[in-house]
């Protein structure tokens, strides 16, 4: 695949790629822009190669995610080691329209699987490819993430109802 074809694919996926980068960066716009730029550079310099153009989106999302993880490591930010780690629930007020706030409350892996499946319309298998984990593990994160997010939505709805 030549550079022009690659650029064409990247342009087509640009919006989704930026949104995904933002989601992986805890919705930090500036960091997402930097990470996306770095990911494109990796690709255009040939450090990451696309073997199957049909899997371009999965491939790009995976590169973005790993670029962000690398950046966090360089910055000394701790990346959760326990894939199934579930933080203890804290009683916090959740605004039902604060979608990003609610998503942020999910553990990293659950958040990424949920975002890939529900937001980006990917399959669990594709999300597993992005996260470089097996499908079974991805399914576990998917189920737990769904459960946790539902609880948060319900909690926010209850708070809203009580306020009325």
């Amino acid at each position: 695949m030549n550079r022009t074809e690659l650029e064409h694919i990247l342009k087509q996926l640009h919006r989704d790629a930026y949104i995904w980068a933002r989601q992986c960066c805890q919705f930090d716009d500036e960091l997402a822009k930097d990470m996306l730029q770095q990911s494109y550079l990796k690709i255009l310099e040939g450090k990451a190669k696309l073997k199957d153009p049909k899997k371009a989106k999965t491939w790009l999302f995976s590169i973005i995610r790993y670029t962000i993880i690398d950046e966090y490591r360089k910055a000394g930010k701790v990346v959760p080691l326990e894939e199934s780690y579930d933080p203890i629930d804290t009683i916090e007020e959740v605004d039902s329209t604060d979608y990003e706030g609610m998503i942020k409350k999910l553990p990293e892996m659950q958040r990424e699987v949920i975002m890939a499946v529900f937001y980006h319309q990917m399959t669990i298998a594709e999300s597993a490819e992005i996260l470089q984990i097996n499908v079974g593990t991805a399914r576990t994160h998917y189920e737990r993430g769904k459960k946790k997010l539902k609880e948060l939505i319900q909690k926010s709805q209850l708070i809203e109802q009580n306020e009325k």
């Binding site: 949104i19 822009k33 990003e100 998503i103 769904k146 539902k150």
Partner: protein, 103 residues
């Protein structure tokens, strides 16, 4: 499934909100232009070097005319300076060279 509808609706609202997001421009990749100054400079230096090398390696041509000044002793034992003009230096013969052979 009913609960999944709750999630679908949540994400559909989130997407609506994301419509307001300012998406950065796709970075136009700059084609790396070759800086021709560097190779041109190297080539020019090489040519100048070659020119000088061949200039130096050529044997200098003998001058067309040579003035030979020699000091000789005259009949009355006086010193005299003889100035001769020759076409080439290799045709010049020392005035005392006979001493080396004719004795």
């Amino acid at each position: 499934m009913k609960n999944d509808e709750m999630l679908h609706s949540f994400f559909s609202e989130m997407k609506k909100q994301d419509q307001q997001l300012e998406i950065p421009e796709f970075p136009e990749a700059k084609v790396k232009a070759i800086n021709w100054w560097l190779p041109s400079g190297i080539a020019a230096s090489f040519l100048v070097g070659c020119f000088w090398f061949f200039q130096l390696s050529q044997a200098p041509e003998a001058p067309a005319e040579v003035i030979i000044i020699s000091l000789e002793q005259g009949e009355n034992n006086e010193q005299q300076i003889i100035i001769e003009e020759k076409a080439f230096i290799d045709t010049w013969e020392s005035t005392t060279s006979s001493l080396l052979t004719d004795f």
